[in-house]
């Protein structure tokens, strides 16, 4: 078995990366196998613990205080507060000085590109001047061709949400001529390289619209490698602070976070295989232990052996949970995913109602091993982390990244410790 490790993690999102880092910290040899580019690039870059209770109450001011009210089956209840704190410690180490929010247990309130205000535990430094709890008047700037942030609309939304400052939005033309559907990465590159004095000209274009605003928000595209410099230049010319508004996919803030995590994985000596999906597995004779997973190489099945395995393939959106007209399933190991037999009970008639599908996922034991319908573990050496774990409506609760971090830490650490024994 040439390709063999102590711990093999399936999935390269936030949960998979955290699992691999936690496992590597125990001294185990670790491989992370991921089909596609990390899903971190689709994320806003905001890192939440808990913004709303499962009953929809909130925004919660201190997420740790609200943990006790969560149901027993919630992933946070399974791993406990201490694990969440440690996981955020790990996150803070990886993110370094590029993220803020770790100085307090309380949630910060961040404006989003839709103009809503989101409770979150950690946020990129570039977004810091945008805090909704900050009383300074703000101007939001959008760009003609970039439909992802309609600044006047987002500003109206924020005002309607009752933020404690006045906010206006204006749509401008980007000072460098780009193609009509240029992506955020192209904007960022123009500012990074200061093409045609883009920074100065952008500030000059914004300046007449300031009208007393004490800070200016832009879509998150203010440079990539030289973001800090871009913000400083804009701020110096405008004479006010600038900030980035977190955006939807493809998201630069998410890409930057992905870079941080993958650099940390490299640093930790984690081996990474990307580009091909895990499609199958084999067990020992008892059927209780997984010996290898198979990676599909366009028709070839390549075995990857390990002592311990962690499933971090995401939920319904990430395709770690799949559904047909008949059933909901976890496609690699076919772990038990409880769901109503009648598919019309999977969702609620109200679009923003209480959907059963939002909580679909594997059912973990206290060590995060998926269990079967008989409550016994599916496999002795398989754990699960992140969106594939059921029991939380993370989109409604604003708890997705925190669950990924906390379950990743516990699954990775347990797998690493057990593998090294």
């Amino acid at each position: 078995m040439p390709i063999s490790e102590d711990v093999l993690v399936v999935g390269g999102g936030l949960a998979g990366a955290t699992t691999a880092l936690a496992a590597a910290e125990t001294g185990a040899s670790v491989r992370l196998v991921t089909y596609k580019k990390s899903t971190m690039r689709f994320a806003s870059g905001l890192i939440d613990i808990l913004g709303y209770t499962p009953d929809g109450e909130g925004p919660i001011s201190n997420p740790y205080d609200a943990l006790a009210s969560l149901p027993e089956a919630h992933p946070y209840s399974v791993v406990g507060e201490e694990a969440i704190r440690e996981a955020f410690g790990l996150f803070d180490e990886v993110a370094g000085d590029s993220y803020l929010g770790g100085h307090t247990d309380a949630n910060a309130l961040l404006p989003t590109h839709g103009g809503t205000v989101k409770p979150t535990a950690r946020y990129p430094k570039s977004a810091a001047n945008g805090l909704a709890s900050d009383g300074r008047d703000a101007l939001l700037v959008g760009f003609e061709s970039l439909t992802d942030l309609d600044a006047p609309l987002a500003a109206d939304h924020m005002a309607a949400a009752g933020v404690p400052f006045s906010v206006r939005g204006v749509t401008l033309e980007f000072p460098v001529e780009l193609r009509a559907d240029a992506k955020v990465t192209r904007f960022a590159k123009a500012l990074d390289a200061d093409e045609n004095r883009a920074r100065r000209r952008l500030a000059d274009a914004v300046e007449p619209h300031l009208d007393g605003a004490e800070r200016v928000g832009f879509p998150a595209l203010l440079g990539d490698e030289h973001g800090e410099e871009v913000r400083a230049d804009l701020s110096a010319t405008l004479g006010v602070d600038v900030f980035e508004v977190p955006m939807g996919p493809p998201s630069l803030a998410g890409l930057r976070l992905e870079d941080r995590f993958f650099a940390a994985l490299d640093e930790a000596g984690v081996r990474i295989s990307s580009g091909n999906p895990v499609v199958d597995f084999e067990t020992d004779e008892t059927g209780d232990r997984i010996e290898a997973v198979f990676v599909d190489r366009k028709g070839q099945r390549v075995p990857y052996h390990a002592g311990q395995f962690v499933l971090a393939t995401g939920g319904l959106v990430g395709k770690g949970i799949d559904s047909s007209r008949e059933r909901v399933e976890e496609p690699i190991f076919d772990c038990h995913v409880p769901h109503p037999g009648d598919r019309y009970e999977w969702s609620d008639a109200d679009a923003f109602g209480d959907h059963a599908f939002a909580r679909f996922g594997v059912v973990p034991d206290e060590e995060l091993r998926p269990t079967g319908s008989d409550d016994d573990v599916e496999f002795e050496n398989l754990r699960a982390a992140g969106g594939v774990v059921g029991g939380a409506d993370f989109a409604a609760e604003k708890s997705g990244s925190g669950i990924s971090l906390a379950t990743g830490l516990v699954a990775g650490r347990n797998a690493g410790t057990e593998a090294s024994q």
Binding site: P2, I3, K36, K37, T39, R41, F42, E177, L178, R179, D181, A182, K183, V184, T185, R186, K189, P249, P250, R271, I272, S273, S274, G275, N276, V295, R297, K298, G299, Q300, V302, P303, Y344
Partner: protein, 425 residues
């Protein structure tokens, strides 16, 4: 009554009839326009006139459903790096769509007497050019290195004069293979058929020799069937008929070996990509699935079947440092981290990945006079990272990436198999 009102009576029906023609509809329907592919496209990153892969693929495909819609000529600016395939979270077959659209554009819309067509045809058929040139390697090298010839190439054919034509080896790999008397190891169990491709045959036979020696040292019987170009430059230039001919010959020459226990290994990652992915995606040829399913990149094959990690960890080589660049086509096969993972455990070696940017040459793309600047602009990031890396020797699996690396930095470039040979043979 609508289905929503009476769900129990709703049953899905086959809306679209079965078709014999290539139908990319399911792939196009999987695109939910997240535009991640556009952010991964190296051409769109530097060329503001290039509508990215989302347009070239699913959008163009949908537009064309309404008939009479010609393929947009910007398809010829796609370099076929295939990064969009890897970036798509929804497994939309973007490169297959691009290849199909490019083939149709060249077939139906390109003037066959134009300079561009002639030039592309010549570049796409490097195989033929190299076969002729390598018969008199010294003369060819002298002629091709002549600045007057380079100027004529540029003015007459549109092949850039900025690049130095790769030198032909004085002895091709196949000549060496004949001279040594073919396989030196015979085995019933461990057998591979080597797809050397054009470049390691005509230009860098040392890579082919390294492959043979490394595999023989692990006890493999290596055979070297007759072969044509893998087709990579033909796909990239929309010359699908040429590619299909080459694929047919390659399939014919390799498929018979598979039942005898041979797997196919390639040292060039674009060749393995082509046999493995593009052949079955684009052509319906007898045995082509079999060929695809049994094709591997050489180092990958050893990683899967031998304790390569152990062999490398036990070895020592003289001190050397490498700046490694992962070719886009290696990336698409999941091989982008393989060389660094392997050699960072080799005593004496320092190896550093120079980042995930594209080298910019993309085979024949960077040889085109009108694409040269785009090609160098894409490569800028890689050159920069190479200069900042500790290593002063480059490393990559792809022949044209290595040309670009050398062209942009002046570094000598090695193939991983050469270092592997030094370490374990």
């Amino acid at each position: 009554m609508s289905d929503a009102e009476n769900p129990s009576e709703f049953e899905p029906v086959q809306v679209f009839p079965e078709t014999e023609e290539m139908d990319l509809r399911p792939g196009a329907d999987n695109c939910y326009k997240c535009t991640t592919c556009d952010t991964a496209c190296p051409v769109a990153e530097v060329d503001d006139g290039f509508p990215g892969p989302k347009f070239q693929g699913p959008e163009q495909w949908r537009l064309k459903r309404k008939e009479d819609e010609a393929v947009d000529d910007s398809i010829m600016s796609c370099s076929n790096c295939m990064r969009c395939d890897d970036a798509c979270p929804s497994s939309v077959p973007l490169s297959q769509m691009h290849n199909t659209a490019r083939g149709e554009y060249v077939d139906e819309q390109m003037d066959k007497l134009s300079r561009e067509y002639l030039r592309n045809r010549i570049l796409a058929n490097y195989n033929t050019l190299a076969m002729l040139g390598s018969k008199v390697p010294r003369l060819t090298n002298a002629v091709m290195g002549n600045s007057l010839v380079q100027t004529v190439n540029e003015k007459l054919l549109g092949i850039t004069g900025e690049r130095e034509f790769p030198e032909f080896a004085e002895q091709t790999f196949r000549e060496w293979w004949e001279e040594r008397g073919g396989p030196q190891v015979r085995s019933e169990e461990k057998r591979v058929a080597y797809f050397h491709g054009c470049y390691s045959n005509y230009n860098t036979p040392e890579v082919g020799k390294a492959m043979v020696r490394v595999f023989e040292s692990f006890g493999y019987e290596v055979v070297v069937p007759k072969q044509r170009c893998s087709g990579t430059p033909m796909f990239a230039n929309g010359m699908l008929d040429d590619a299909k001919r080459a694929a047919g010959i390659n399939a014919e020459n390799f498929k018979g070996l598979i039942p005898e226990g041979y797997d196919i290994v390639a040292s060039c990652t674009s060749c393995s990509m082509s046999l493995r992915q593009e052949y079955p995606e684009l052509f319906d040829i007898d045995g082509i699935e079999d060929v695809s399913n049994h094709t591997y990149e050489a180092v990958e094959y050893l990683r899967i079947h031998e304790d390569l990690r152990g062999a490398v960890a036990d070895a020592t080589v003289s001190d050397q440092s490498f700046a490694y660049h992962a070719p886009c086509h290696a990336r698409n096969q999941g091989l982008d981290r393989q060389a660094v993972e392997l050699f960072r455990e080799l005593d004496g070696v320092t190896i550093e990945d120079v980042g995930d940017s594209c080298s910019g040459i993309s085979g024949t793309y960077g040889w085109k006079e009108e694409k040269y600047e785009t090609s160098m602009a894409i490569g800028e990031e890689m050159f920069d990272h190479m200069h900042h890396a500790e290593g002063d020797v480059g490393m990559t699996e792809c022949p044209t990436c290595s040309m670009q690396m050398n062209h942009g930095t002046g570094y000598e470039i090695k193939h991983p198999l050469q270092l592997l040979e030094e370490a374990i043979v």
